[in-house]
């Protein structure tokens, strides 16, 4: 076991230092000592990593506990982005100060995501608990239906975030480069959420139940725990966090139909790469994939003049990790 932990730590450390080293060499050494570009790459990597975490964390915990791969997770992200954008730009709410409007927009997005999650789990998924393949097909279908409903409500136009608020406007200078305060805010929110979910899993009774349920939910029920209620709570939490992801990404990335799917693919790579059902694997995997995307994007733009490589980076990293550790960074043999 100790050897396994050491191997995982070595792979993670190797990947992080490898990526940062590569970025450092390509930006600082090959680009005349430009530390600012290196900083932007790291910041962009952490930003993408945190957004990925917001999609992947729900995916991972739900899969670990319920054996359900929720392919509608991307749609919850999309809905979160649309709801937040709509409320923040609503003429009816113009009287409310922009910062407060942003808080209301994000909170409502989380609430909408949670309510949709409860509906999906209780009404649609519950009858299919004995049929895992049907569940995958169902969540895939639900993802498409939510996308179509979004298209019906908001149309096919992508919405840019134009209404400013304090965080989105702020910036600071470092190494002769301009850095957005909002990116730092999203990174901080992501780290706080990683910490909060870790504390929930490690320090609370519900956390103990979730961790035990990941191993053997039938035994947890035999101990007198209403596991279905826990399933609902966890599924709802996963959907709400994905909606939060969409809401906090919207000021930067806007709201569009494909935004959720774009992150879903990366999130699936994160969940498998981190080790199916492993929370720490998902957290570390998200940061790794985010950094890898940013490093490859920066390198391919600077030297290859093309962007194609960054879209396939999560999958390339996934293949690389699985070759080194077939069950993922923190995964157990299943």
């Amino acid at each position: 076991m100790a050897e396994n932990v050491r191997n995982t730590a070595l792979v993670v450390a190797g990947l992080v230092f490898g990526l940062l080293g590569f970025s450092f060499v390509t930006t600082v050494i090959l680009s005349d000592g430009d530390l600012g570009s290196f900083g932007i790459t790291v910041m962009s990597g952490l930003f993408q990593g945190m957004i990925l975490f917001l999609v992947a964390s729900g995916l991972s915990i739900v899969f670990g506990l319920m054996d359900v791969l929720n392919l509608a997770q991307g749609a919850f992200f999309t809905i979160g982005a649309y709801v937040a954008w709509t409320l923040h730009h609503a003429d009816e709410l113009e009287a409310i100060p922009p910062d407060l409007r942003f808080v209301i927009a994000v909170s409502t997005a989380i609430l909408v995501g949670a309510l949709m999650g409860i509906f999906l789990e209780r009404v649609l998924l519950r009858p299919l608990y004995e049929r895992p393949i049907f569940q995958i097909v169902l969540t895939f279908g639900v993802g498409i239906i939510i996308g179509e409903i979004a298209k019906f409500i908001w149309g096919t136009t992508a919405y840019a975030w134009v209404e400013p608020f304090t965080l989105a406007e702020g910036s600071f200078r470092l190494f002769d480069q301009q850095f957005s305060v909002y990116r730092v805010f999203v990174i901080v929110v992501g780290f706080l959420l990683i910490l909060a979910i870790a504390l929930l899993l490690q320090r609370t009774r519900i956390g103990i139940i979730i961790r035990a349920g990941v191993e053997d939910s039938e035994m947890v029920e035999a101990l007198g725990v209403n596991v279905r209620l826990v399933f609902t709570a966890v599924f709802t939490l996963g959907c709400a966090v994905a909606a939060l992801g969409g809401a906090v990404a919207a000021p930067f990335l806007g709201a569009s139909l494909g935004i959720g799917q774009q992150f879903l693919l990366g999130a699936i790579a994160v969940v498998v790469l981190g080790g199916l059902g492993s929370y720490e694997g998902t957290a570390i995997g998200s940061i790794l994939v985010g950094l890898a995307i940013a490093v490859v994007a920066q390198f391919s733009l600077e030297f290859l003049n093309q962007t194609v490589w960054q879209s396939i980076t999560p999958m390339l990293l996934l293949v690389f990790v699985l070759l080194l550790k077939p069950s993922g960074l923190f995964g157990k043999e299943r």
Partner: protein, 237 residues
Amino acid sequence: MAADNILLEIDDIHTFIGQFHILEGVSLRVRRGSIHVMLGRNGAGKTTTLRSVLGMYQVTQGRIRLDGVDLIGKRPFQIAQMGIGYVPEHRAIFHELSVRENLQIAARQRDDLDRRADFIFELFPDLKRLYHLSGGNLSGGQQQMLAVARALVPENRLLLIDEPSEGLAPVIIEMLMAAITRLSAQTTVLLVEQNFRVASQLAQEYTIVDEGHTVAHGQMADLVQDDALIHKYLGVA
């Protein structure tokens, strides 16, 4: 047997697993405060009977009552909350959780573990020493102790214990037998056990299950004298 002295009553139950008809008429009565053992060969339906009591398998016919209350149709967590503890075959402890967490998860009231800790550590002193170690790091014997201890955290009226001696060293089996004898002073036990020596020393009453049917029941003191019955259904000389 006086009806009010019966804690668990299983009456002619039938259970399917998928399309297979596993239990085709199992009946038994467990007297309050007793250790009752279910005997039978591999595949006879003993574990299926325990899991049917807990609602883990759907019973299609027959009746299961705990203290006169019907259990059929209830979900496993509801049945467990009625005061049934379960120690499954192969222990099913949670490997990623510490010993403390394995015990904590079984608590139904906030103070269950605090209240029962002294009794549990008196029965299994090793667990106190291993309290912060994860379940996966325990030996087979320690895992079995933890599985029994977990069922003792809430004050259950009935413990269903499945094959506690399986795969354990003789010294650990002796220790577990002593613990089960002691805990039976506080709760009723329905035991499934392949090891006839262990079963005969622990239990006062028995039921033999064969191919999904109850074929014999009675006092353990009578069974140990009945070589023909033992040989016929248990294959023990």
